[in-house]
């Protein structure tokens, strides 16, 4: 039995499957709109299985490396994956497949968006394209391919954001698109400068030839700034709350949990595998990123505390959590140990945030609106309250969740580096997010208000469809902390020269 499994694992090129399946599925879903839901779920689940197989393969057999079509760099495209990519691919596909299943389960119950003429099936081709782009991004091994995949991800994300058909959604989407275009162009400028200086695009090749020259430093700053813009780092985060807050719930889940991580991953990859080893890893730049991250933590936390709409609370919480991820940059001054903190925070956030956004859909459905003040109404199902509680546990960083392990590792790193101010900011951020979450959760215990004015739901038989997936995602977010040490070992698998 295990022989067949190992043969199967080693024999099939899972990376290619993970990229091609959603592409094919997306095309098929576009061409066959009646079957879009079925194709979408099938493709998502298959891709998730392929991703899991790939992660397993990397965990057991080491980093993955393939020259597409047999043409090696500099002419051909190389795809490669090491421990960091593996963990993030796993996260993307598992969360993505769950959100897809949720969208399939609840699709029929949600009223179709009539006004803008956007059919509800439009979700599926866009989502599958996004998934293909994300998988390709994590598997890319040269700076230009990263640009292309980043663009694919960005464009499909914009399409998804506009899908709800509301006027605010269009405005938020065009703003998101403009920010994305500007950022991508600046990134491309950086790539061009690097290419002009060295004539190499492959990451491994660049690492070998990079020298600390002014043009290279300018390219680095341009690329990092562009990626920070895409990742909604303070103070360039303004596009995120409207975009995530006005999209439909599955889309918000995908955007917050997965899309923002993609550009962050590129920044981390470039920093750790290209600029730092080449001697360009200036402490000043890392500190600037860290300081902006700290501001994001505090600002996002404050805004989450005072937001009136539930979805905006959750969106600002994303801004704060991304701040934590950027605060990891100064900690990598002497090596990659603190990478585990980054990974735990990112993965736990993906699960918890998607759970929250999906649960918001159930809130909207049973209560008629998503004002925080309405949460005390008795119609709110118990499953939603439990989902919120568990997701909040992970976001605030309470044990034994994945968020707790991430915070622990982060604090361990800041304390051992003697960065007292950083430590204090992490603590303040924790208190702020605890306050923001407590404000929401306390509404569940508030004196019961009147019944919902316009309940959207006639019968409650379908309620489990809306509650199941978010609950499972929230439980997973808490359960990640109990997984033991193997995620850290996985992250430690480093490619020869990614």
């Amino acid at each position: 039995m295990s022989d067949t499994v190992s043969a199967l694992l080693a024999g099939v090129d899972w990376a290619a499957v993970a990229i091609l399946t959603p592409l094919a599925g997306g095309a098929a879903a576009f061409v066959l709109p009646d079957r879009a839901r079925a194709i979408g779920v099938a493709a998502s689940v298959t891709t998730a299985a392929a991703a899991v197989a790939l992660v397993w393969l990397i965990a057991t057999a080491g980093p993955y490396d393939l020259a597409v079509g047999g043409w090696s760099a500099p002419l051909g495209i190389r795809i490669a994956a090491d421990g960091l990519s593996a963990v993030l691919i796993g996260m993307t596909n598992l969360v993505g497949a769950s959100v897809a299943v949720h969208a399939a389960l609840t699709g029929r119950q949600t009223k179709p968006v009539a006004e803008a003429g956007v059919a509800a099936w439009g979700f599926w081709p866009l989502w599958l394209l996004l998934l293909a782009g994300l998988n390709a991004l994590y598997l890319s091994a040269d700076v230009f391919n990263l640009y292309v995949t980043l663009e694919i991800v960005g464009l499909s994300a914009v399409g998804l954001a506009a899908l709800s058909g509301k006027a605010e959604a269009f405005k938020a989407a065009i703003r998101y698109l403009l920010v994305g275009i500007i950022a991508s162009l600046v990134y491309l400028l950086g790539v061009t400068l690097l290419f002009a200086q060295y004539g190499v695009l492959d990451l491994a090749g660049l690492r070998a030839v990079l020298v600390p020259a002014p043009a290279t430093q300018f390219a680095m700053v341009a690329m990092l700034a562009a990626l920070a813009m895409k990742s909604a780092l303070f103070p360039l985060h303004g596009w995120l709350p409207p975009a995530h807050g006005n999209a439909t719930s599955p889309v918000s889940a995908l955007l917050s949990a997965l899309v923002v991580k993609a550009s962050l991953y590129i920044a981390v990859r470039l920093w750790l595998d290209l600029y730092q080893p080449a001697g360009l890893g200036d402490d000043a730049i890392a500190t600037v990123l860290g300081v902006l991250g700290a501001c994001a933590v505090l600002w996002g936390g404050l805004q989450a505390l005072i937001a009136k709409r539930l979805k905006l609370v959750v969106a600002y919480s994303t801004v704060a959590q991304i701040g934590y991820l950027f605060m990891c940059f100064p900690l990598w001054a002497d090596g990659r140990e603190a990478l585990a903190a980054f990974v735990y925070l990112a993965v736990a956030h993906a699960f918890a945030k998607s759970a929250l956004f999906l649960a918001c859909e159930q809130v909207q459905r049973t209560l008629g609106d998503d004002q925080v003040s309405s949460l005390s109404k008795p119609e709110l199902p118990g499953a939603v309250k439990v989902t919120f509680a568990l997701a909040a546990v992970s976001l605030v960083g309470l044990p034994p969740s994945g968020g707790f392990i991430g915070k622990w590792l982060l604090l361990e790193s800041t304390l051992s580096h003697g960065l007292t101010v950083w430590t204090v900011i992490v603590l303040c951020g924790t208190l702020l997010s605890a306050a923001a979450m407590a404000r929401v959760l306390a509404r569940f215990f508030a004196p019961e208000g009147q019944a919902a004015a316009h309940p959207q739901v006639v019968g409650d038989a379908a309620s489990w469809r809306f509650s199941l997936t978010p609950l499972l995602l929230a439980v997973a977010a808490v359960g990640i902390g109990l997984l033991g040490a193997w995620p850290v070992e996985l992250v430690g698998i480093v490619g020869t020269a990614q």
Partner: protein
């Protein structure tokens, strides 16, 4: 070997009971009561078995689970754990009976008892924690599980009390987290080792002092050490069973227990004294003792008076832990149990008064002894014990604390104890006087509804705890008394057990 799983089983009993109770429909009273009581009895039985094994067979059980932070989740059964565990398991059973009676026909009972079980699970985890990491995990769980109980009544005052409670305890939790992470990365080990963890010898003193301050600050919030005691009187908006078990026993004792673990099994009392930290801690505890008693004098609301009394009494435990004397430690450990018994009796009686005649202020309680004779008898016993009247519970623990103070060349401790006993008398005796010797008013003579003065579920538990208050004092030298158990613990925590005043 079945032994390894036993700590996990003890924890799981209440952990599994919680979702079962949550899932029980509101009206299925019998089913819910059965689950509740079965779990409580099962747990008490298992704890009794473990106590027997640990005391007489010298057994030690430990269960580990690796976590990514570099430390394991460790549950281990040692004598100190069993001291706290038996207190909480025994009182859980009694309080469950009391709560069933108190909340009869109340709303959201499934939610209440579900979170109640979670609280007990968290307290079990705190008791059984084998290292500071595991302690932290369950300490935070306790905060989360107690909040819904504090706001159970869902009135605006309850929500406000809950907000204040959460603000204090989450801040304390965050401080404890930083201290723990720092200690873990500086020393490499967070294990609880009797007489102190040797891994701390490699850390410089300034770091150790800072870490100690953070840990005590974090633990001191729950232990209601001044100035972090503010949440306790506010948390009295909770229903009486919650105030009784959680805020008089579980939550505050968790903080005090944590301080004992940190001072004796992480730092070790010798190192604490060497770092110059023992005296400030003892001083802070002494201040809290007097401050709490003084504040109690000013309260007219009965539960708030008892709350400030708790603030004062829990610091006895901290004081005992901070003195370099095994006698003081014995006193502290005994007081952990005795204070729990005394205070839970007082709170349950206060709850009975509120239930029977709907009175909450001391000034309104004229002649209540005539209406609720048995309840007030229990109240009297507990009050006298708290003041320190021999041969009741409070006397024995105070005696050892005083002896410890003299042993440690800190005679001022004796003065503090005497002053506190005097203050206790000042705020407790008037209640007794009013209850027994004043003429009853119309308000206090509201007739009882049944044959007994109040439902038996509300009457029996305080009577049993009052009996225990007498018992642990009278039979202090019996093999399973808190005193014997405390002696067993102290002899290993502090080396060289000298010949003190009392053996």
């Amino acid at each position: 070997m079945s032994g390894t799983w036993l700590p996990l089983v003890v924890l799981s009993i209440s952990l599994i009971a919680a979702p079962l109770i949550f899932a029980t429909a509101e009206r299925r009273v019998v089913l819910r009561t059965t689950i509740n009581l079965c779990a409580a009895v099962l747990k008490l039985g298992l704890v009794g078995y473990l106590a027997w094994q640990v005391a007489f067979e010298g057994a030690r059980y430990a269960w580990r689970w690796p976590m990514a932070a570099g430390f394991d989740l460790v549950l281990q059964v040692d004598p100190l754990a069993l001291l706290f565990l038996s207190l909480s398991a025994g009182l859980w059973l009694l309080t469950t009976i009391y709560a069933i009676g108190y909340l009869e026909d109340g709303p959201h009972r499934s939610r209440f008892f579900g979170f109640f079980s979670l609280c007990v699970a968290a307290t079990t985890g705190i008791a059984l924690a084998g290292n500071l990491f595991t302690f932290l995990v369950f300490y935070e769980l306790l905060t989360l599980a107690t909040y819904p109980l504090v706001v159970h009544r869902q009135t605006p005052e309850a929500l406000r009390g809950g907000r204040i409670y959460l603000a204090y305890t989450v801040t304390g939790g965050v401080l404890l987290l930083v201290g723990t992470v720092w200690l873990g990365s500086a020393a490499g080990s967070l294990d609880f080792v009797t007489a102190g963890n040797p891994a701390l010898a490699s850390v410089d003193h300034i770091t150790l002092i800072a870490i100690f301050a953070l840990l005590v600050a974090g633990l001191g919030v729950k232990a209601a050490l001044f100035p972090a005691h503010g949440w306790l009187p506010q948390a009295m908006v909770a229903p009486a069973p919650v105030s009784a078990l959680l805020h008089a026993v579980a939550v505050v004792k968790a903080g005090a227990f944590g301080i004992i673990r940190v001072v004796d099994e992480v730092f070790g009392i010798a190192l604490t004294v060497k770092l110059g930290l023992a005296l400030p801690l003892a001083g802070l505890a002494a201040f809290t003792i007097i401050y709490g008693s003084l504040q109690a004098l000013r309260q007219d609301d009965l539960k708030r008076r008892l709350a400030y009394s708790t603030v004062s009494q829990v610091s006895y435990i901290v004081l005992g832990a901070a003195l370099f004397s095994p006698l003081a430690l014995i006193g502290a450990l005994m007081h952990l149990v005795h204070q729990g018994l005394m205070k839970i009796t007082l709170f349950m009686c206060a709850g009975n008064i509120a239930e029977a005649v709907h009175l909450h202020k001391v000034s309104e309680l004229d002649g209540i002894g005539r209406r609720l004779p048995w309840t007030m008898a229990a109240f009297t016993i507990a009050s006298l014990a708290m003041i320190g009247v021999p041969p009741l519970a409070g006397f024995v623990s105070k005696w050892y604390l005083a002896a410890g103070g003299i042993d440690d060349q800190s005679a001022w401790v004796v003065l503090i104890l005497l002053a506190s006993s005097g203050l206790n008398a000042l705020y407790l005796l008037p209640i007794l006087h009013r209850a027994w010797f004043k003429v009853p008013t119309a308000a206090t003579m509201v007739a009882a509804s049944g044959r007994l003065e109040i439902k038996w579920t509300l009457l029996a538990p305080p009577l049993m705890t009052a009996a225990l208050v007498i018992g642990v004092g009278l039979f202090a030298n019996a093999p399973f008394s808190p005193l014997s158990w405390a002696r067993l613990i102290a002899t290993v925590e502090i080396p060289q057990f000298p010949d003190g005043l009392i053996r």
